[in-house]
């Protein structure tokens, strides 16, 4: 019964939505909107080769601040959902599992880990030139940490360090935004106040590059924290008193 209802409803929904989307033919360039402006301003004014990036970090940089917040929020929320108090219990760090990874995976992980960090950094440093960006770069760095976490039962990440990175990187974003209020031409939040540079140069795009680096660090630290929390959960049985 439930199945019939669900399938029926899904059928209806897909029918209507698909018919709506088919009305926008694939590949058709039917609208003239803000995108024309972005395609023009991005290389000319901002000197950013990647228009997606200039949208993400400049035109719609406020969204990206929101996104950074979402990740920060998710990692904090995760912490509050799966908190554990290592230091207060038994004095030992909890072990993730009883099955150790094979020796060669461990050796391989050691080699690949720095490689992924360099790759991630490469991506967020070149965020304004290539399809990547702070999020992708940060995520790749975090997967490097994931590799270490799953390869070693006793690989522990210093949350202290993560905290510092997160805090500094996150506030860099906001403070850069606030600098815009003071130093930039229109005195707007998140407005660029640095020289734009030359198109396709590493040092181009003004604050975009710095923001992406900050975002990269923050995202890397946050996803790493999230993964660590998810993988290292050990119940302490203690519940904060309810109120």
């Amino acid at each position: 019964m439930k199945k019939v209802v669900v399938i029926g409803s899904l059928g209806v929904i897909v029918y209507y939505l698909l018919s709506a989307f088919v009305a926008i033919p694939f590949g058709a360039d039917i609208i003239k909107g803000v995108k024309e402006f972005y395609l023009q301003k991005s290389p000319d004014d901002l000197k950013v080769a990647n228009v997606v990036t200039s949208i993400v970090v400049n035109f719609r940089g406020f969204d990206t601040l929101g996104e950074v917040t979402v990740l920060f929020l998710a990692s904090t929320a995760l912490g509050s959902i799966l908190y554990h108090r290592r230091s207060q219990h038994s004095g030992l760090n909890p072990q993730r599992t009883s099955v150790e990874a094979s020796a060669i995976v461990q050796t391989g992980a050691k080699i690949i880990f720095p490689f992924t960090v360099i790759l991630g950094a490469y991506i967020f440093i070149h965020g304004h030139l290539t399809p990547g960006g702070g999020f992708q770069g940060g995520a790749i760095i975090a997967t490097g940490f994931l590799l270490m976490l799953i390869s070693y039962r006793k690989f522990f990440i210093k949350h202290n360090a993560l905290t510092w990175i997160e805090a500094i990187a996150g506030s860099t974003f906001v403070i850069l935004g606030l600098f815009g209020l003071i130093y930039a031409k229109n005195h707007d939040f998140l407005e660029n106040f640095l020289p734009a540079g030359k198109l396709n140069d590493l040092l181009s795009g003004g604050i975009i590059g710095i923001i992406y680096i900050a975002v990269g660090f923050k995202v890397g630290a946050e996803i790493t924290g999230i993964l660590d929390t998810l993988l290292t959960v050990k119940e302490t049985g203690l519940d904060p008193e309810e109120n």
Binding site: F72, S80, D188, F189, L190
Partner: protein, 496 residues
């Protein structure tokens, strides 16, 4: 210091949230103190900005140096500014209430305050932004906050509640995104004022599908029947102040989004009739369910849904009287429900089950908290001389104004139901013998302060509603004046 830029409402809490862990490393109590200072400051500047607002001249802030529609903009108007002021005020009170959050330990209070800061930034963002996608981003911030803090306490069924919320919240974001995508492909812009201008040319069928997607997506956030299954669970499982923030701030930003979209962005014929019907169904199912609850918090949660339904009904009239009443109801619901949740936090402190039955005779052993709860109950059911009465009266006048007599009858019928279940609790609190010894958790001084301030507001507005009616009227005019909104955001646009 007068700050004229509403971006601080978002930037400051974000900055604080990012830096809070560092403050904690410097000196642990800063974790609690800094958010308070920030909230106080935000409340101050919001009052300052709002009171100095020139009518018809909302503060429009552009981001990153790009004027709308190219860049994202914030609109601090009589309407959005009112909600922001309400949110900052409540945020400050919630902070005051939970300042002594010692019981949960340092680590958790750090997370708690961080999440609280982010939630305030998120819900203010929803209200201030002039960009539809940006609104989605901020809605997600508030959503994730809720998932995280709903599941804050272990031992309860909090994870279950949070998971349900997450399930529905995810569906909500899918529908909102689909709507935004369709809309973008139709008008090529994401700025709400710009969409409002261009939306007239959208094919009506396409428009109706976009409207439905928004309606369902935002309806979930606004606690609309039949998509509100998450509400009672989340409200009843979250920590007291968090539940208060759900009712006081989150639900407000959800309904704000719904209203903004259908009043300003997308003008769709028929949507308000739909809103009326769904609002009525929301009221009926919620209040009737509330009637049969054995758990205090669940009862309050269902009652909240009912209030949200009432607000939807008010806005569905699409008249100034309706908007005015809706705003009044929003104000009341925010203030009163916050008080109810805050006081219920201490009432149910020592009972694991949080059953209403366990509250017998608490009026004697916890006089202040019970009094606050009683006051809240009196106010929420609309008894004079408390602020709830004026909201209800204006609501009924607006309903009569729209010639919907059967709606009046229904609202009043439901109000009787409301009275029954709230007065059952009051009866137990004050006029029953306490049946067993319970450990008394009297509120801390700061909780007393927070609740007292709310009580004063409730009584103050109840005795002299004109404290706020002027502002509500201004907000009403702003929301009703779509052309004015478009003109302020896009001054160079020639409307023909």
């Amino acid at each position: 210091m007068v700050i004229t830029d509403p971006v601080y409402f978002i930037a400051l809490p974000l900055l604080t949230a990012f830096l809070l862990p560092l403050f904690g490393k410097i000196y642990k109590p800063l974790i609690g103190i800094i958010p308070g200072l920030v909230f106080a400051f935000l409340a101050y500047i919001s009052f300052d900005l709002y009171l100095n607002l020139v009518p018809g001249k909302p503060i429009i802030i552009q981001m990153a140096g790009w004027a709308p529609p190219w860049g994202i903009n914030l609109v601090f108007s009589e309407f959005s500014g009112l909600i922001v002021t309400l949110i900052t005020f409540l945020a400050f009170l919630v902070w005051v209430y939970s300042y002594n959050f010692k019981k949960v330990g340092f680590d958790n209070s750090k997370k708690y305050f961080t999440l609280l800061m982010l939630m305030v930034a998120g819900s203010i963002g929803v209200v201030l932004t002039g960009d539809i996608f940006n609104m989605f981003v901020f809605l997600e911030i508030t959503a994730i906050y809720s998932y995280g803090l709903t599941a804050f306490y272990k031992g309860r069924d909090s994870a279950e509640a949070a998971f349900k919320y997450l399930l529905l919240g995810s569906l909500s974001s899918v529908f909102i995104l689909l709507a935004i995508l369709l809309l973008y492909k139709q008008v090529g812009t994401l700025n709400m004022a710009d969409i409002a201008v261009k939306a007239q040319s959208i094919d009506p069928k396409m428009k109706s599908i976009i409207a439905i997607l928004f309606f369902v997506g935002l309806g979930i956030e606004a606690e609309m029947f039949p998509m509100n299954g998450w509400v009672p669970d989340a409200y009843s499982q979250a920590p007291g102040p968090v539940a208060a923030s759900f009712a006081g701030m989150l639900a407000k930003s959800g309904i704000y989004a719904l209203i903004r979209v259908f009043y300003t962005v997308l003008e769709v014929k028929g949507v308000f009739d739909l809103l009326l019907i769904m609002g009525l169904l929301t009221i009926i199912f919620a209040e009737f369910s509330a009637m049969r609850q054995k758990h205090l918090r669940r009862m309050l949660a269902y009652s909240s849904i009912g209030q949200m339904g009432l607000i939807m009904v008010a806005f569905s009239f699409n008249t100034k009287a309706g908007i005015f009443a809706g705003l009044f109801l929003m104000f009341n619901h925010a203030i009163i429900k916050t008080l109810l949740f805050l006081s219920s936090g201490f009432l149910t402190y020592s009972t694991k089950q949080k059953k209403i039955r366990d509250l017998d005779g608490f009026g004697k052993i916890m006089p202040f908290t019970s009094l606050m709860f009683g006051l809240g109950a009196f106010a929420i059911v609309g008894l004079p001389p408390f602020s709830g009465f004026w909201g209800k009266l204006n609501m009924l006048v607006a309903t009569a104004d729209s010639n919907l007599y059967f709606v009046i009858a229904l609202i009043l019928l439901v109000a009787v139901v409301e009275i029954v279940y709230y007065f059952k609790v009051i009866g137990r609190l004050y006029f029953r013998q306490q049946h067993k010894d319970v450990e008394v958790h009297n509120p801390t001084w700061n909780a007393i302060l927070a609740m007292s301030i709310l009580a004063i507001v409730i009584i103050g507005v109840g005795i002299y509603p004109d404290l706020i009616t002027d502002y509500l009227t201004k907000a009403t005019n702003e929301l009703f004046d779509k052309a004015g909104y478009i003109h302020s955001v896009l001054p160079n646009l020639s409307l023909n």
